[in-house]
Subunit: 406 residues, 2 copies
C-alpha cells in the first residue's frame, strides 16, 4: 500500500492495444491497494510528425507556438488513457500541465519546472481516482503552454512524485533497466539492481539514453527513488537512489562509450595568458559546447591545445579554430573524427585508489593508445581510436569485475 507514480513512454502507449495493456498494469497496481498517479508521453512518432509539420511552415517555427502544437500529443494520450481506465470500471481523470499546476519558467521548448501545486492531484487521489497527468508540458506564469524538452515526461514524473511525496516513481520504458554497459557491445553486460543518482547522471550525460538527465537531477534534489523498468514484462528493473541507501560498493558501476565526439588540436600555440580565452570565447559565442580540454606544455614556450566537441558542432568549431589559430600563431590545426570516449563510472571510486591505474593498464594490455584523459570525482574518461571502442569496453567490463555470472 503506497502512493505510486508510474510513467509510461511513447512506445508503451504507441497504439490503442498498448494503451489497453498499460491500463491493465495500472489497474493491477491500484487493485493492490495503492494510490496511483500516471504520467504519459505522446504516442510514439506523434511528436516527430508534429515537428515535421511545423518545419514545413518554417525552418525556425516560433517556440511558443511549437509548444502549443507539441502539447497536443500528450493531451491525446491522457484523454484516451482516462477513457480506457473508465471503460474498465475505474475512476480516472486526466490532467494537463496547467491543470496539474506544473509551473515552469517561460523558456519555450526547454522550460524548467519551478513548482508543482499538487492540490488537484491530491484531491483526486483522495476521491480514489487514478490520476493521469500529461507529461512533458507545463504552464508559465502567464498561462502559456510550455514544454520541457526531449524526455521531459521523465522529469514530469519525478517532479510530481516529489510534489505529492510519492513512495516511489516507476519509469516504464522499452528496456529492462540500467546495464553496466551497452548489451549490444558487451554480451556480458549485467542489469544493475541499484545505481546512485550521481552515477546515473554521469551515465545519462555520456549517452545511456534511458532517463533524461534533468529528471535525475530533480530526483537527486528531492531524494525521489526512481525505479526504471520495462513495460513489456514484470521483472524488477533498476533502482536509482541516493548513494547512502545501503548500496553495494563496487569500484565501478558502469562503462559507457560515446562515439559522438570529434577532436580538434591546435599545434604549438604560444604559452601565454589569455590564449585559451581567445579560442574558447568565440566557440562559446557560436553556441558550441566543448567537452574535454587538454593542454600539453612543451619545452620551448609553446603548447598543444586539444579539445573535443560533438560531431554536429565539428565543422563550425574547426572553422573557428583555423581562423583563431592563424591569429594567435598556431602552426597547424589537426582534427580527428574517428574517436571514441570510453568512461568508467562509479561512486566507489572515491574510496578505492587505483581505478585509473587499472583502466590505463587494461587498455595498454590490449595495445590501445590513449589520446586524451579527463576525470570527475566519480568518472574517468579516455579518448581512443574509434575502431578499438568495443574491445576497450569489453576488456574494462571484465577487468572491473562487472561481467555477469554464467
Amino acid at each position: 500500500m503506497g502512493l505510486i507514480v508510474q510513467k509510461y513512454g511513447g512506445t508503451s502507449v504507441g497504439d490503442l492495444n498498448r494503451i489497453r495493456n498499460v491500463a491493465k498494469r495500472i489497474i493491477k497496481t491500484y487493485d493492490q491497494g495503492n494510490d496511483v498517479v500516471v504520467v504519459l508521453s505522446a504516442m510514439a512518432g506523434v511528436t516527430d510528425n508534429l515537428i515535421k509539420m511545423a518545419q514545413e511552415i518554417s525552418d525556425l517555427p516560433i517556440e511558443r507556438e511549437m509548444d502549443v502544437l507539441l502539447a497536443t500529443g500528450e493531451q491525446t494520450t491522457v484523454a484516451l488513457m482516462a477513457m480506457m481506465l473508465q471503460s474498465m470500471g475505474y475512476k480516472a481523470q486526466s490532467l494537463l500541465g496547467y491543470q496539474a499546476e506544473i509551473l515552469t519558467d517561460n523558456a519555450a521548448t526547454k522550460a524548467r519546472i519551478q513548482n508543482i501545486g499538487a492540490a488537484r492531484i491530491k484531491d483526486l487521489i483522495a476521491q480514489k481516482h487514478i490520476v493521469v497527468v500529461a507529461g512533458f508540458q507545463g504552464s508559465d506564469h502567464q498561462g502559456n503552454i510550455t514544454t520541457l524538452g526531449r524526455g521531459g515526461s521523465d522529469t514530469t514524473a519525478v517532479a510530481v512524485a516529489a510534489a505529492i511525496k510519492a513512495d516511489s516513481c516507476e519509469i516504464y520504458t522499452d528496456v529492462d533497466g540500467i546495464y553496466t554497459t551497452d548489451p549490444r557491445i558487451c554480451e556480458k553486460a549485467r542489469k544493475l539492481s541499484r545505481i546512485s543518482y550521481d552515477e546515473m547522471l554521469e551515465m545519462a550525460s555520456l549517452g545511456a539514453k534511458v532517463l533524461q538527465i534533468r529528471s535525475v537531477s530533480f530526483a537527486k534534489k528531492f531524494n525521489v527513488p526512481i525505479h526504471v523498468r520495462s513495460s513489456f514484462n514484470e521483472e524488477e528493473g533498476t533502482m536509482v537512489l541516493d548513494e547512502n541507501t545501503g548500496m553495494e560498493r563496487l569500484e565501478v558501476s558502469g562503462i559507457t562509450c560515446d562515439k559522438n565526439e570529434a577532436r580538434i588540436t591546435l599545434k604549438r600555440v604560444p604559452d601565454q595568458p589569455g590564449i585559451s580565452s581567445k579560442i574558447f570565447c568565440p566557440i562559446a559565442d557560436a553556441g558550441i559546447v566543448v567537452d574535454m580540454i587538454i593542454q600539453n606544455t612543451r619545452t620551448g614556450g609553446d603548447t598543444d591545445l586539444t579539445f573535443t566537441v560533438t560531431k554536429s558542432d565539428f565543422k563550425a568549431a574547426v572553422e573557428i579554430a583555423e581562423r583563431v589559430g592563424k591569429e594567435i600563431g598556431a602552426t597547424e590545426v589537426l582534427t580527428a573524427e574517428d574517436i571514441a570516449k570510453i568512461s568508467v563510472i562509479g561512486v566507489g571510486m572515491k574510496n578505492h585508489s587505483g581505478v585509473a591505474a587499472k583502466m590505463f593498464s587494461t587498455l595498454a594490455q590490449e595495445n590501445i593508445n590513449i589520446r586524451l584523459i579527463s576525470t570527475s570525482e566519480i568518472r574517468i574518461s579516455c579518448v581512443i581510436e574509434k575502431k578499438y571502442a568495443e574491445l576497450a569496453v569489453r576488456a574494462l567490463h571484465t577487468a572491473f569485475g562487472l561481467d555477469k555470472k554464467e
Copy 2:
C-alpha cells in the same frame, strides 16, 4: 479600419496549403489597417477521427475526457496558423479556450458560454498582434476543458466578437452565403445579401447547415452582425443582421426542405383531458424531441393525434406510441417515413397577410397534398409526401418572387 473577427471552418484550414491561403487572407485584412482576431476549427476530418478512436475504447466514452481529446484538434490548427503568420513576417499569437478566458458551464461536449474575459485578447490586439483563438472549446469554473458541440466554432467567433465589441464577425465557410433555398434543389436559388437573425434561426433549425443555431442566438442577443462568406473567393456573402437594420422587406426570404423527419399517427384517441400527456411524457422521458403535433378532432368524441420526430428517433417513438396507444384505446398507429417538411420563412410575413394562402394554393396548383401544417410568427411549414419535395420548393420559390433575375 476596424476590429474584425474572422472564423474559418475545417475545410478552409484542411491542410498546410489551405492554412497558408487563409493566412494570406488574414494578412490582407490586417494590412488594410484592421485589427484582426481569427477563430479556427479543427482541420477537416480530424474531429471525426478522434471520435472514432474514442469509440474504439468505449461505446460511450466519458464526456469530460472526450472534450480533452477533441480540443487537441483546434489546438493544432491555431498553433500552425500562428506559426504561418509569423513565418510571413507578422506578429501573431494563439490562444486556447482557457487562455482566451472562454468560460462555460460544465456540460461537457455541449457546454454553453457564460462569459468571455477578453482582457488577454485586447492586450494582444493593443500590441498589434493577430490573435488566433481556438474555436469550439472553453473552460469551466474548475479549469476543465469543455467543448461547445458541433459547429461550436461559429459560437466562439460570435461570442468573441461580442466580448471585444468587434465591428464585424466574418464566418468563412465553403459556401458563398445564405441562399433563398438549397441551390441543389432549385437552380434559381438566389444568394441573399441580408437576412435577419430570426429568419436565420428558422433556416438553421430547419436544416440549412451554414451556421450553428446557437451562434445566431448569441449574435441576436448581443447584436453582432455576421457576414457569412466563402473562404475560396473574394465575393461578398450574406449579412445576418437585426431585422431593423434597413432590410428590404420581402414577404418570404427563404424556403427550406427537411427530409429528416417521420410521422406517427394514433387513430381515434379518446378526446379527454390528459390524453396528450399520457403519450408525450414517456416520449420526452426517452429523450425524443417532438417537432410538430396536430390533433384533429372528429365528430363522435375521439381524435386523431399526429406528430413528427427525426428519423433517428423514429423506431423508439413508434414503440412508445404502440404501447401507449393500446393503454389509451387508440384503434391504430399509422406511420410514414416518406415525408418532407417544406417551410417558407420571412420576417416580412408579420406585415403581409396572405402568405399562408399563397403557399397552400401554390401547392394545390401542383396537386400536392398537405398532410400537416405548423406555423410560427415568421414561418409556415407543411408536411407533404417526400417525392414532391423538390417540386414544392421550386414552385414556392417562384411564387414568392425569389427566383434570381436572368
